[in-house]
């Protein structure tokens, strides 16, 4: 099942096109020319008029495309979305579903992260090991493990990747701008 897909990347901005092409490669797929017979098209924002191929839109607002992901998906998410759309399924990320005119959330006190847990989380997001985190924050390995476990519990995550993703989602939802 792990076949490689041919993916066309539609983005007006050259830098963005480059970054998305790299992400496609990281997801294990082949970037082809925009006019080619691609299996799936990735469009930066809403799908352009006249585009009829199976499309994954990143950060778009129109919901008449097969795939809708956030503007910054992970390689894993992109891989899953490309495969699903190529197989004729529809893909929606919770982030896309969370858009809409919402209320100001009062954060739940029980599961608030501490500043130290935010430091550990930032290191997790960079892919650092517990040992490397201990070195960077000049704390003991034992303390790092304690913080990571606490993060897993507060974020209801089972893996480091899941913790990073759930924290990013929470940050996106709960950031207050003043």
């Amino acid at each position: 099942m792990a076949s490689q897909l041919q993916v066309a990347v539609l983005a007006l901005d050259a830098l963005r096109r480059h970054a998305l092409s790299q992400l496609v490669a990281e997801a294990g797929h082949l970037v082809v020319g925009t006019e080619s017979e691609a299996d799936v098209v990735i469009s930066d924002g809403d799908r352009p008029a006249g585009e009829t191929r199976a499309t994954v839109a990143l950060g778009g607002t129109e919901d008449d495309v097969a795939g809708m992901l956030s503007r910054h998906p992970t390689a894993r998410q992109l891989d899953a979305a490309l495969r699903a759309v190529a197989a004729g399924l529809m893909v929606r990320s919770p982030e896309a579903a969370e858009s809409g005119f919402g209320r100001l959330r009062e954060s739940c006190g029980q599961t608030l992260l501490t500043p130290r847990e935010h430091d550990v989380l930032a290191a997790l997001a960079e892919g650092l090991t517990n040992k490397a985190i201990a070195r960077r924050l000049t704390i003991s390995l034992h303390t790092v493990k304690f913080h990571v476990e606490s993060l897993f519990r507060k974020l209801d995550a089972r893996t480091r990747t899941e913790a990073v993703m759930k924290a990013a989602e929470r940050r996106r939802r709960e950031t207050i701008t003043l």
């Binding site: 008029a49 607002t61 129109e62 919901d63 579903a97 969370e98 858009s99 809409g100 005119f101 919402g102 209320r103 100001l104 959330r105 009062e106 954060s107 006190g109 608030l112 992260l113 501490t114 500043p115 130290r116 935010h118 940050r171 709960e174 950031t175 207050i176 701008t177 003043l178």
Partner: protein
């Protein structure tokens, strides 16, 4: 005695009649790719719609009842209450919208524009009629009105009527496709301000904040168990000028504890602009206070 079948026919006929009447109250705002958004005809020359779904441009074509296409210009938009206003180049015969009180369980009709001068209809119940609420974008909405209706993307921004023909407000999408109503009271409050200024001014410090737990060791000195950590700062914004840095944990703003997000949001209304404000915060384990001057939130 009336037969049940007659009652059903009567209900259906009444809904048909109401929808036909409401055609004058909607307009289709044309978007790219043959799409459109619904607007509610607020006054003979004004159409209100859902700010979150209106593209950032100044000129639009609007299809009015009967199919005539009228040019319209943006007269103002306010993300905090999700209201945008278009001014029509030619006035319409606008119906008068009488405000109605939402009641949970009431049967309502949500009207959309079909894009060629007619109306589309959705019916359902008022799922929830609650008190005023604060939007995540810093606005106050006079009533919390949630419908159990599923709405098409093109129908967002149309009026919602009760069975007596009273208008509850304008439909819009909340999170997860939930259908909300921006109440008439909010429209009546915001539209005149938007027409005067083109936007709703709000106070601004130029910081992005996220709630964090105050570390145990600092709880006593802080006097509270949670605060708002500075996650981002706008360069040269009021908070940056006051000396705030990323990682600071805000405990209170002018004496109001930051664990009351809604109260804090309420301190940044238009009248806050220019006001000196005291920020109490934790930095490096120490409690410190800084003075900042609230500026006006830049557009966009």
């Amino acid at each position: 005695m009336t037969e049940p079948a007659d009652l059903l026919a009567q209900l259906s006929n009444a809904l048909v009649a109401r929808t036909a009447l409401a055609a004058d109250a909607v307009a289709a705002i044309r978007l790219a790719h043959g799409r459109h958004l619904t607007g509610t005809v607020w006054r003979s020359d004004l159409v209100v719609s859902s700010e979150q779904s209106l593209p950032r441009q100044d000129e639009f074509d609007v299809v009015t009842a009967g199919g005539a296409v009228v040019a319209a210009v943006l007269a103002g938009r306010d993300p905090s209450t999700n209201i945008a206003i278009l001014r029509l180049a030619a006035p319409l015969a606008a119906p008068s919208l009488a405000a109605a009180e939402p009641r949970a369980g009431a049967l309502v009709l949500a009207i959309g524009a079909d894009g060629s001068g007619g109306a589309s209809a959705r019916s359902g119940l008022v799922n929830l009629a609650g008190p005023e609420w604060h939007s995540s974008r810093g606005g106050v909405i006079d009533r919390r009105i949630v419908l159990d209706i599923s709405l098409g993307r093109r129908e967002e921004g149309g009026p919602v009527f009760d069975t007596a023909g009273g208008c509850l407000g304008m439909s819009t999408f909340g999170p997860r496709g939930q259908v909300l109503v921006i109440p008439v009271a909010t429209l009546e409050r915001v539209v005149p301000l938007l027409l005067r200024d083109g936007r709703i001014a709000r106070g601004w410090l130029g910081i992005g904040l996220q709630a964090v737990a105050v570390p145990d060791a600092l709880r006593e000195v802080a006097g509270q168990s949670s605060g708002l950590m500075v996650m981002s700062l706008v360069a040269d914004g009021p908070a940056a000028q006051a000396g705030l840095v990323a990682g600071d944990i805000l405990l209170s703003i002018d004496g109001t504890s930051t664990h009351r997000a809604r109260k804090i949001a309420g301190q940044f209304a238009a009248d806050s602009i220019g006001r000196p404000t005291e920020l109490r915060l934790i930095r490096g384990g120490q409690l410190i206070a800084l003075q900042a001057t609230i500026a006006e939130r830049p557009a966009g």
